[in-house]
Symmetry: C2
Subunit: 116 residues, 2 copies
């Protein structure tokens, strides 16, 4: 099971048409997002870093270290997002260890992509 | 508090002299490590990626995604490590949400360093 299942019923949802910019590099962010369905491209300085598909998460860095967005997130197709604020994030980590592991897996995949 | 405090009393320890290679890029790994005291350099293809200091963790990717080591870890000075296996890792995530947050912070710092 992806993270989607864990928060699908607990989080606020938002439908974003293909091409919508969800956040921009250097924005301040207070939410992370789960892809309920659809797909989201993450770009750094115009270059696509990764594609987040159904069940994946993104934007978690802003909740973890409170720094500005490092990437620009754009809906690659019509997409439904789950929106998770800090309160929900801490609740999910506390109540569902598998959520923490899924967030770590998502971060691990990005670190591996960088050869890090 | 760094992660060090969370696992210092729970994990096996190992003292490694300065210059000791703790693991090499492409090794299979089944442990993560916490720096109880000292410091550890992580290198990718010879280039230093980051320095992990007291209270920091490294080697967590192997426990999260079971892939070979992406970096080479070397003790920068005489160092005491806490050694955490999968069982302990899952236990710490389940019992101490602050451990999960600290691991995520460590990963976030590395992602930021890559502009990711």
């Amino acid at each position: 099971m992806g993270v989607g299942g864990l928060f699908a019923n607990a989080a606020q949802r938002e439908h974003v048409p293909a091409g919508t910019i969800i956040f921009r590099e250097n924005d301040q962010g207070v939410h992370m997002f789960g892809v309920v369905n659809g797909a989201v491209e993450l770009r750094a300085r115009g270059r696509v870093v990764t594609l987040i598909e159904e069940g994946g998460v993104f934007g978690e860095l802003a909740l973890i270290d409170h720094s500005p967005r490092s990437l620009t997130a754009t809906a690659a197709v019509d997409t439904t997002l789950a929106i998770i604020d800090t309160h929900m994030f801490l609740f999910l980590i506390q109540e569902t260890p598998s959520f923490a592991l899924e967030v770590m897996s998502s971060m691990a995949a990005r670190l591996r992509a960088y050869g890090a």
